[in-house]
Symmetry: C2
Subunit: 244 residues, 2 copies
């Protein structure tokens, strides 16, 4: 994520002064792409307008504590971490959270990535909103409580569906079928909710109340009690949906 965001900032004309990592080699990898300096010493950073922290959630607090002495605004990029964690140490504290799933192997058009902004002053908020709008067309103000829920919702919208794709792939493998068979369906399922709400386009035996097909599916899943449980639980929920 740091790589994608740094590249987007650089491409939008911002200067990235330094890239810090405890591993100088890792810092250099990112710094090279955005023509910044790589450093591994947090104690002697150069002057800048903003520190942007993109570290593991449980390293945010420690990093903030060490940045406190610079009197420079600090933002973190975490969906699961409240602003308060920074505010303990930093007077100008904010959040700059890109809601997307990033991977090293795929390019992402940052302009389409929703950026969720929070700040502990109107001035910093203004600065972050302006900065965000230079790299994304979708900038939202989202407070810490909302962001916690958003992060949870992203688990349901991204991590869990990907796991269900994995289950589907396993079922196909058992039947000597190629995962390519399902790829267009997966894509279209996601595309459908780009212009519709999910309950408007729900399909399948559970929403039709097609008990016979569901019984046959459960029978096919008999060798795997876990998959039966997943099938039952999700079908139960779908059965109670309001199809509008």
């Amino acid at each position: 994520m740091a790589t994608h965001m740094a590249a987007a900032l650089k491409n939008a004309g911002h200067q990235i002064v330094e890239v810090f990592s405890p591993s100088l080699q890792n810092a250099a990898l990112l710094a090279y792409h955005v023509r910044a300096e790589a450093v591994d010493d947090l104690e002697q950073l150069k002057s800048t307008d903003l520190f942007l922290i993109a570290v593991k959630d449980d390293a945010i607090e420690e990093t903030a504590a060490r940045l406190a002495k610079y009197q420079t605004p600090v933002v973190h990029t975490s969906g699961a971490t409240s602003l308060a964690v920074l505010e303990k140490y930093i007077s100008g504290a904010g959040v700059f959270y890109p809601l997307q799933t990033f991977s090293k192997i795929r390019e992402v058009d940052f302009k389409t990535v929703p950026l969720c902004i929070e700040a502990n002053s109107a001035e910093l908020k203004q600065m972050l909103m302006e900065l965000a709008s230079t790299i994304s067309n979708q900038v939202y103000e989202v407070n810490s409580n909302q962001r916690r829920t958003l992060h949870l919702a992203a688990v349901f919208a991204c991590n869990f569906p990907n796991y269900l794709y994995h289950i589907a792939q396993g079922l196909l493998g058992d039947a000597k079928l190629d995962f390519n068979l399902l790829r267009p369906l997966i894509m279209e399922t996601a595309a459908k909710v780009q212009d519709n709400l999910p309950n408007e386009v729900q399909t399948g035996p559970a929403v039709r109340g097609d008990e016979q097909t569901m019984r046959e599916h459960l029978k096919l899943l008999e060798p795997d009690q876990y998959l039966q449980q997943v099938y039952r639980l999700l079908s139960e929920g779908i059965g109670k949906m309001n199809k509008t």
Copy 2:
């Protein structure tokens, strides 16, 4: 689905002779688009090379019985129905199953839709494979047992993810957040598995073993025991994934 397939066949240069429905009005709606005749009497159909049945699964058998007297090959288009249901009545029996989720509001490029073919003779199989290849670039031979599993896998790859999108939307609504925030994430999650396998791109707290975030998520879900159950069950499965 009938509408999309009929249009694809017509566009590929095939002639659709008649469109039957017990409701002449429904027949006419489809027939109009493909310049065919609309009929509501199954007893006096015109001569043709192939009957294509696109009815509800539980009406396939009865329809096949009534088509038997024409001595014309019959295919059904159902993922969940075995070839044997047709073979009871029809000497040239086959399956022509498009694996995609269709909706009246969205155009689908039929060329990208996987078509799963089965037939009870080499001759009919040859005919169906050729017919299929005129409307789709992805033609597969799939027997009845495989197709049952494929249909089940499609529930995991399409119906269940769509329901999880619905859950995510509900969580956002509770926090007064817009579903638009999640749409790019949903799209990218599906796009990622177009060139990768799901286990290669699984993300989130469960695959990281991030117990603290999972505890916080479960706490947020406390008002809804059902959602807690879904979260626990899917996270448990993800925790056991082989990330390669």
